[in-house]
Point group: C2
Chain length 252, copies 2
């Protein structure tokens, strides 16, 4: 049996996975943040990314359903609250729907996921099932893409504000809020993984889980790129530009 890496070396390995594989490297994000997306390409991204947002509380509940430690369940609970919101307090899913409206969609159309790309839905459900079925350590490790999220959120806020008319503090509230929430979440998750991955085998499994999660994110952008950039052929039944818009945008 090989020895486990030191905590520092293992953390560096996890961070290197982000450097190599996080979806901020995907060409679609380059286009999006650089102002090179058409209005419909932005819409395609907002529409499809909704599937991911909507699934996050189910994923976090699946993790909690595996977790035998009261203190850990309590700590994890805030993620669900952050996304689902509370009585009189909007959550991340509702904030994403504000973004959807800002780019012209009828929010009910987006929430229905009718026009979302099957490949995006498959990727998201693969994530929920992974968290439900893998070890608790792997489930937590798969959340560690949050290590890399603050940078993409900052780039996104800056890029969208600079390049797109729909972008303002209201429509981008989702990203602004995540900048506050993600660091607390990731501090807990990273500490858990560093503590519990105490053999070489577990470190390997945790790293593989994080790689899996980068695949989940990347696969969604591949699907969006294929359907709406190049070759630009949406699969049968997927959203076609013009569909699902608010009346004012449809006729305006």
């Amino acid at each position: 049996m090989s020895q486990p890496m030191s905590r520092e070396a293992f953390e560096a390995k996890l961070r290197a996975i982000g450097d190599a594989r996080y979806h901020d490297k995907h060409p679609f994000h380059g286009m999006l943040h650089g102002g090179d997306c058409t209005q419909d390409q932005v819409r395609a991204w907002v529409l499809n990314r909704y599937c991911y947002q909507a699934a996050i509380p189910r994923k976090d509940a699946a993790l909690m359903s595996r977790c035998e430690e009261i203190e850990m369940r309590r700590a994890w609970r805030s993620r669900i609250e952050d996304h689902d919101g509370s009585a009189g307090e909007e959550g991340g899913i509702a904030r994403w729907l504000r973004l959807a409206e800002a780019v012209g969609f009828d929010r009910r159309y987006v929430a229905s996921m009718t026009g979302a790309l099957p490949a995006c839905k498959f990727a998201v459900e693969a994530y929920v099932r992974f968290v439900r079925d893998a070890t608790l350590l792997e489930a937590v490790a798969s959340s560690l893409t949050e290590l890399f999220a603050p940078k993409i959120h900052r780039d996104r806020i800056a890029g969208l504000l600079r390049h797109y008319e729909f972008a303002d503090e209201n429509s981008l509230a989702y990203f602004r809020t995540r900048l506050d929430q993600a660091p607390k979440d990731v501090a807990f998750g990273l500490a858990y993984v560093l503590e519990h991955a105490d053999t070489a085998e577990k470190q390997e499994a945790a790293a593989a889980a994080l790689i899996f999660k980068t695949d989940v994110l990347w696969a969604q952008l591949d699907a969006i790129y294929g359907a709406y950039v190049s070759p630009g052929v949406p699969p049968p039944g997927a959203w076609a530009p013009g569909e699902g818009l608010k009346d004012v945008d449809r006729h305006g």
Copy 2:
């Protein structure tokens, strides 16, 4: 295809399941509430029932992980909060451990579940898995034993206070609190089941889920009765009277 029952007839059918099968009919509960349990039999019950209490938040998280409706997840969330507690606020699991201490246990021994009966652990895990794998309707229907819980909690508070020295408002806080919490939970669950069991087949499945849950509860009392009443032979490794007590009770 047969026609579904009316809502009223279906609700009556669900309530009849409780009348016939809820564990308030089990001879162990007769002994417990009637003051006929020895101190060690009460301890066996408290120790083993802890497994069920500890699993409830995992069960509820499993249900939430199946649930695509934000509003429903939000409504269900309070069950986890009720059991796990919040920062500075004790939950149901902690209250159960107060009861465990009141009957003489070291709370760490109870929380470790080391001495719990395998049959109780199996029953509880069968419940968590059922909620994880059955339909959402069946998962919700399996929670409807709460329809029958207020009566057993009232009987229990009265019976324990009358017959046992350990019983006071502190040790019985779990049951007192559940009297407030259960009605809100069951109102939501019952309304959900009555609305969503809209075919004869779904009504049948929901009723079967509730029957399954009554089996889960009954099986725990059977195991406790067998190990600690008659024949009174705990399985290998299970708690033996005298084990796991607080120092003061061990030597006092």
